[in-house]
Structures are given as C-alpha cells and as structure tokens.
C-alpha cells in the first residue's frame, strides 16, 4: 500500500522534491538540489527500492546525472554523464529525458543534440545507441526554439517510441537496435510539405499499457493554414496518426498525459500558438473521456483572468492513486494540483523558479 506521494520538480534553478500523504492536501518541499542549475528531466524509478534520477544541465561545467537513493534527501552525481564519442563531432548540450529500461539497472536517456544513450549500471556509464543517434536522418534534423532535443522515450516491450523536436516520431521494433521514422498523419506547419516523412516538431507522446497500439501525441500545432495537426492519436503503434484536436481552443500545447486507469482519458494544456500562453489569459487543462472525440475544460480553482504562463512538455503528470491527481508546473514557478482527475485545482507552491519538468510516484 502506498504511503507517500513524491513529486520531483525540475526547475531552471535546481531540483525540488515535495512529499505528501495520500490525501495530497499538503506537500513539504525540500531542495533545491543542484542549486542554480537547470533540471530538464527527472525519473522516479519505482523498481525495487525507489531511486530518483535527474539531469543537471550546468551552463558552466556541462551535463551531470544525479541519483538519490533516499527519496530525494540527498543526491549524488553518477560516475559519468552521457557523452558523444570524441570522433563524433557532436557535444552534449542538454539532457531532456530519462526513462527506465528492461533490466533493473538499465536506464535510457534522450539528449540534445538529439541522440539516445543507454546505461546498464544505473547511470554510471553510458553507451550511445547508434540505431537512432547515427540514423541516416539524424544530420537532417534541426533545432526548434528549445534546441534539437530527444525529449520522449516510450517503451512498450521491445518496441520503443521516440519523440524528437524537430525530427518527428521514430519507432524501434527490435529493442533499440534499429529505428524508422513513423509519421504518417503527423503534420508540420513550418516546411513546404505539410506531411513530411520526418522533421516534425513533436512535443510529447503518451501511451497506456491497457490499450495496445494506442498512442496520443501533442504535436506542434497552432497553424492557421494547417489546422488540427497539433493533437493526434494512433491506434496502430504509431504507424498512422489522426487528428483529435476538434473541440479544443487551440491545438498548440506541450504536454499530453493519459489517465492511469482509463486509456480513453487524456489531458492537454492548450496554449495560444503565437504566445505559448493560456488562451484568453485563462489557464485550463482540457480532458477527453472518449479517446479524443470530445474535450471538456477543467479550471475550477484556477485564475479566471490575467494568466500568461506556459506549461512545458514535461511539466504535467498524473499520479496513480485510485482517484488520481494531476500536477502541472508553470514557467512562472507555480505548481498546481488537480484533485479528482482535474476537477478541482489548487496551487501547491506559488513562487518556485520556472518549472521545466514534474514527475510523481507513490512510494
């Protein structure tokens, strides 16, 4: 039985850990760890004794990976961060995603410039995954505003989905040895071809284990000339995608999250395409309960005016308790909780540094 809810909050100025009881009324904050340093990705590894991993993206001294074995009371650098081979010519600029692998000590890491690394010793050493990092398309990907980043790693047994901005969606069917672009139906608003083979600006991909083959994608939408390409769904393991954006105030956004107990329920945070802030300055999470056929606005407890924040791609998550709560962090440093699946919202922390990522686990 889970006793505590643990939040890891990566910010522009370090990593914070918040801990609360299952009722999720109050959370106690500790940190910042790696103070002053941007933390773009965290991972709460619940296999065995829980461990927290986080990237520390130091503007001065380069990238580090931090690990805590005591639920985020102390963090220690792993023996080495991911690094490109000297002969490669690329240099690590950021660490955007950390995910668990198949084996107990196996970790995966997506970086900027877009490439994938794998560790078999809990992050003490890393090997570049050539199948995607040296893919024939790799030198043709290009950076968006956030950099050329591999931000999403979704594992489904031997199948691995990757999200790259701007590179698109890639899939491996052989455990990561080889990858292929898989973007049929994924549009792009910034190149002449509206549906290129690759090069889309995918923002986030999510799946639910109880719905084999189904994936949700928040893509870079917000294009008047190419409407509806921002929120997508696949039912064939990402081979083809279709729009589910109808009913949303904007198809631009960054995160997309699936309910832990119902694969038909998903959440997005629509933003105005031009400003990347809340439409009409009114923040809202939008929820579908039917796999994207319709959407409902959720903002009870949120401000009703004058809100101009952004919710970044990894800054929304949902816990796995019976009545799950959503959590999102803003670029203005607020951490919000949406209890009862987003029905009622409350601001847990008002004045953190700009929030880059949020992860939750029950421990």
């Amino acid at each position: 039985m889970a006793e505590r809810v643990l939040l890891c909050i990566g910010t522009k100025k370090g990593l914070f850990v918040a801990e609360g009881a299952k009722a999720r009324k109050r959370f106690e904050l500790r940190g910042p760890f790696s103070p002053g340093v941007a933390v773009y990705s965290t991972l709460i590894d619940e296999r065995g004794s829980p461990k927290i991993h986080a990237s520390s993206c130091h503007a001065f001294f380069g990238m580090k990976v931090l690990t805590s074995k005591d639920l985020g009371n102390r963090f220690k650098e792993t023996k080495s961060p991911p690094a490109f081979p000297k002969s490669d010519g690329r240099a690590l600029a950021n660490i955007w995603s950390l995910e668990t692998g198949e084996n107990k000590k196996e970790l995966w890491c997506g970086v900027e410039p877009a490439a994938l690394f794998r560790s078999e010793d809990s992050g003490d050493s890393w090997q570049m995954v050539s199948g995607i990092s040296n893919h024939e398309h790799a030198r043709q990907w290009h950076p968006g505003n956030g950099g050329l980043c591999m931000h999403t790693i979704v594992r489904d047994g031997n199948r691995i989905h990757l999200g790259i901005s701007t590179g698109g969606h890639y899939v491996s069917e052989d455990g990561g040895d080889t990858f292929a672009a898989s973007n049929v139906g994924v549009g792009a608003g910034f190149v002449p071809d509206p549906y290129p083979e690759f090069g889309q600006c995918v923002h986030k991909i999510a799946r639910h284990p109880d719905a084999p083959g189904r994936l949700y994608m928040q893509n870079h939408g917000g294009w008047d000339e190419r409407p509806g390409i921002g929120v997508l769904r696949s039912d064939d393991h990402g081979k083809t995608w279709r729009s589910i954006a109808e009913g949303l105030p904007s198809d631009f956004g960054f995160p997309i999250v699936v309910h832990p107990h119902d694969p038909d329920v998903a959440y997005v945070v629509p933003l105005e395409g031009m400003t990347r802030t809340c439409p009409g300055a009114i923040p809202s999470v939008w929820r579908t309960e039917n796999g994207g056929d319709s959407w409902k606005q959720l903002n009870k407890g949120m401000p009703k005016k004058d809100s101009y924040f952004t919710v970044l791609r990894d800054a929304m998550t949902i816990d796995s308790l019976k009545s799950p709560a959503l959590y999102f962090g803003t670029t203005t440093g607020q951490l919000w909780i949406g209890r009862d699946g987003g029905e009622e919202w409350d601001c847990l922390f008002h004045s953190l540094p700009p929030i880059l990522c949020v992860k939750v686990a029950t421990v």
Binding site: A59, F60, F61, G62, S80, P81, A83, F84, P85, K86, D88, G89, R90, A91, L92
Partner: protein, 93 residues
C-alpha cells in the same frame, strides 16, 4: 619547477578536493591533455567531447587571458612557476 594549476571551489570535487596542483606541460594545450588523463571529470567540466573549452570557462596564464578561440590560442607556453588558473566567466541570468 613545474607550473601550478589553480582550481575554483566548485570544481575541486573532481580533483580530490585540492585547490591547486603542479603540472608538467610545456603549453596550455598539453596541460589540458594532462588534466584529461589525471582528472577526467575535471576535464569534462572544462571541455566538451570535442575538446572545445566550455562557453563560460576562462583560462588565465598568470594574469593573461588565454585566447583559446584563436587557432593557436592554446599553444601559450607554460614556464616553470607559471600559474594556470581555471575561472568561471561572468554570466548572468
């Protein structure tokens, strides 16, 4: 007498907590090579995988800034008793 390398406090964790150590190298480029073999994590904090000095790092030989972006910038000679200082550049934000 060898040259001396001064290490800022934030990087001393990567070289056994020492603030300075002796180094036998005839120029800055060779000194960085020596650092890479003796203290790999320290070197990685100063240079990226391509060998480029990180954007916010400055090197000084005595009081002179090493113009490492120049083609021969790292060839600045190190003489006996010189002090090679690794320093973080002024950065805001």
């Amino acid at each position: 007498m060898p040259a001396v390398v001064h290490i800022p406090g934030t990087l001393q964790q990567y070289c056994g907590a020492c603030s300075e150590f002796d180094i036998k190298a005839s120029n800055v480029r060779k000194a960085l090579g020596e650092l890479e073999s003796r203290f790999p994590s320290l070197y990685e904090s100063i240079c990226d995988e391509t060998g480029t000095i990180r954007r916010h790092i400055n090197l000084f030989v005595n009081s002179d800034l090493v113009l490492w972006r120049e083609p021969t910038g790292l060839d600045v000679p190190l003489r006996s008793g010189d002090v090679l200082t690794i320093w973080t550049a002024v950065s805001g934000g």
